[in-house]
């Protein structure tokens, strides 16, 4: 799409951050989010993305495993976005990953959508 452009295209990372109008979509392409170094890098990029757009969709469709450390980073990201009057929502959370987020209590805080399109539609329907 012509209104998209890669924000972090210069650095090869297992995630892709794309701006779609006023929303940033971060698609994580690694199935395991356990490595602390990768968690730190992703966290850094996501915070940078939230600072540069209205809202963020974090797409976890391809993620099968996630660490509690990454869940903690997601909570901090959500809090940082809230302070700026912005939103962070998740998409593609299914199966065991959804169960882990439920066990960790994130389902009570973080909006989750079936896929990126549904998340974008929800953000558009309820602008911040």
């Amino acid at each position: 799409m012509s209104h998209q452009h890669d924000i972090a295209a210069s650095e090869p990372t297992p995630w892709m951050i794309t701006r779609m109008g006023a929303v940033v979509v971060a698609e994580v392409m690694m199935p395991r989010l356990f490595d602390p170094v990768m968690v730190d890098r992703l966290d850094h990029d996501l915070h940078a993305a939230v600072g540069s757009a209205d809202d963020l969709v974090l797409d976890l469709t391809r993620v099968r495993y996630i660490s509690s450390a990454m869940l903690g980073r997601m909570v901090m990201l959500w809090m940082a976005a809230q302070k700026r009057g912005r939103r962070v929502v998740l998409s593609g959370v299914t199966g065991t990953l959804a169960e882990i987020l439920r066990i960790a209590g994130l389902h009570q805080r973080v909006q989750m959508h079936r896929d990126v399109a549904t998340a974008l539609a929800a953000l558009e329907t309820h602008p911040s």
């Binding site: 356990f34 490595d35 602390p36 495993y65 509690s68 869940l71 903690g72 901090m76 169960e99 973080v110």
Partner: protein
């Protein structure tokens, strides 16, 4: 995050999560040895080695039909948390210190022992981490994930060894 949820200072633990932590069993003695030991891995305190060890153990247990697919994924999360805790909080990332991972099982149930060489922890310390600001960095949430992902969770050696336990799915099928 939901439109109906007002902004908060931070994420508060739920009563269920607090109860999980409050009821952690931390014993001073060694864990009981169930049946025979099927696997014993010893590896340096580094994430890459822990990741390999978890993958190997989970794949073996799955190939032996001890786990359903759903149990496999949940146990992988729990075991990663246990090994991560051993590396980061137990051995504090000192690569010269080892983490031991053992799989014990009888005909009905399995136990995974994960041991580090740290100083252990108490329920009070776990609650403090869970309620504090560091929780948003992940502290305490890993314990909740472990407790919610396996049938049995106990700590031994004053917290230096965690035992994750469950029932073999092949035993369930045998009835």
């Amino acid at each position: 995050m939901n439109a109906s949820v007002p902004p908060t200072r931070g994420e508060e633990p739920t009563p269920n999560q607090l109860a999980m932590i409050e009821h952690l069993e931390i014993h001073a003695d060694a864990p009981p040895q169930r049946g025979i030991r099927h696997l014993h891995l010893s590896f340096p305190s580094a994430f890459v080695h822990g990741d390999d060890a978890v993958t190997l153990v989970i794949e073996r247990m799955h190939s032996w039909h001890w786990l359903t697919s759903e149990q496999t994924d949940l146990l992988a999360h729990a075991l990663h948390e246990a090994v991560g805790n051993a590396v980061v909080h137990g051995n504090r990332g000192h690569i010269e210190l080892t983490v031991e991972l053992e799989l014990w099982a009888d005909g009905q149930q399995w136990d995974l022992h994960v041991s580090d060489q740290g100083k252990g922890f108490s329920v009070r310390e776990a609650l403090r981490a869970f309620r504090g600001r560091r929780r948003n960095l992940g502290n305490g949430r890993g314990l909740v994930i472990m407790a919610g992902s396996v049938e049995r969770l106990t700590f031994h050696h004053g917290g230096r060894t965690v035992v994750l336990g469950g029932r073999r799915s092949d035993a369930l099928r045998r009835g």
